[in-house]
Amino acid sequence: MSIEKFIDQVEEEFEELEQGTLKPDSNFREYFEWNSVNALIIIALIDSEYDVTINAEDIQQAATVQDLYHKVMELKEAS
């Protein structure tokens, strides 16, 4: 499980994101309209691909794609 794979998955989930747009240090909120519906999509994506349930605060606290990825890995190790 690499961060590149994670970025691919996020880009696939959001139509407005072209493949290759996001970088590990991108602030993902700048790339697509950020609202609660999109937060739910991220939670569902992470749940189905990584089998961990991230909460809304974790997403709010993550500044970059990398932060989010690290949180997922942390939850995965703890589970």
Binding site: E33, N35, S36, V37, N38, A39, L40, I41, I43, A44, D47, S48, T53, I54, N55, A56, I59
Partner: protein
């Protein structure tokens, strides 16, 4: 652990009633077209039924009950119990179920009461009423379940207004010593009480002039104190975390079966993305998960019976079907049940 097995109780029939008045989420004026499309794509909710002012949950349940009693050809004198499960009763007191006993023309020998639960109410209600019936003292009983949630949601709150639809339902239960057992797994977590809440109007925050003042909570959420507030991300996280394990515990540990052994899983209809994610966690195919959310929205405690009436009407005729029902949400409260659907009487959806 609240895992219980209820013998000698058969579900005989299920009826549902919705208001004729339909609203489309594509017509909502307070968000952009793009945002509306995204909302529909994610939640699945395209249209919802909205009760006219003055129409209550009891009115919708009354219609469903009359239809079901007639279809079953039940003698009203033989109905021993009525329970009304809702969070939108006619009055703060008395309990609405008692008014319905009289309105339906049931005898004074009928016991009637209310249960104050939302999304999990159908499961909890069935556990309670089924337990009473299994003693043999109650032979025929009605469970009237639903909510008119639109009366307490603010048009200017996009986090709630687009979600809720109104519906009232009736389920008939009967004592039958040969009935297959119903097995329940019921749970609660009151630490999440404010995840979905109408904060004012109860004793904790008694209704005052302040209660009627609209406040801007940011992000397209303008509402007053007697309207519902919902934290979508928290509800979502809760459902993703708790529902699949609750069902697994029931199926694998209590019933000793495999998830794949059941014909249908009827889940509370809150959000399509959520239900798809729960289904994926259980690794089951789409065909086993009927949905009514597209056309009727989140109808609170009515969503499970409404889905059965609108989506499984034909499928539940003929051979016995082994099904799982699961409700989850406000409280926080959740639970699931395994029932055997044996030639259920399911009249056509009523619209008033």
């Amino acid at each position: 652990m609240a895992v219980l097995t209820v013998p000698h109780t058969r579900v005989r029939g299920i009826a549902a009633c919705v208001p004729r008045n339909e609203e489309s989420n594509y017509d909502y004026e307070l968000t952009s077209e793009k945002e509306r499309k995204m909302f529909v794509k994610t939640t699945g909710i395209e249209t919802r039924r909205v009760a006219e002012e003055g129409v209550t949950t009891a009115d919708l349940c009354y219609q469903a009950a009359e239809q079901l009693i007639e279809e079953l050809q039940w003698d009203k004198q033989e109905i021993d119990a009525l329970v009304f499960i809702s969070q939108s009763g006619d009055y703060i007191l008395p309990a609405t179920g008692i008014l319905l006993q009289d309105r339906l023309g049931l005898p004074k020998t009928t016991m009637a009461y209310d249960v104050n639960l939302g999304c999990s109410g159908y499961i909890y209600g069935m556990a309670q009423l089924g337990s009473l019936i299994s003693t043999g003292g109650i032979r025929k009983a009605l469970m009237l379940v639903g909510d008119v949630s639109t009366a307490t949601s603010s048009y200017r709150d996009k986090s709630t207004y687009l979600l809720f639809g109104d519906a009232g339902t009736a389920t008939a239960l009967e004592f039958d010593k040969d009935a297959s057992e119903m097995t329940f797994n019921l749970q609660s977590d009151g630490s999440g009480y404010d995840t979905i809440i109408i904060p004012e109007g109860g004793l904790r925050k008694f209704v005052s002039e302040e209660s009627f003042k609209y406040k801007d909570h940011g992000n397209g959420m303008v509402r007053n104190g007697i309207q519902v507030a919902l934290n979508g991300e928290k509800v979502f996280h809760f459902s993703m975390r708790e529902v699949a394990p609750n069902i697994r515990e029931l199926v694998e540990n209590r019933l000793g079966k495999a998830l794949d052994d059941f014909d249908y899983y009827v889940l509370h209809q809150a959000n399509m993305l959520m239900n798809n994610s729960i289904r994926r966690k259980l690794k089951l195919e789409k065909e086993k998960f009927p949905n009514s959310i597209q056309r009727y929205g989140n109808t609170s405690s009515a969503s499970i019976p409404l889905t059965i009436v609108t989506q499984l009407h034909e499928q539940l005729q003929g051979d016995v079907k082994n099904i799982i029902l699961s409700g989850f949400g406000v409280g926080l409260s959740w639970g699931s049940v395994n029932i055997h659907a044996d030639n259920l009487v399911i009249p056509k959806l009523l619209e008033v």
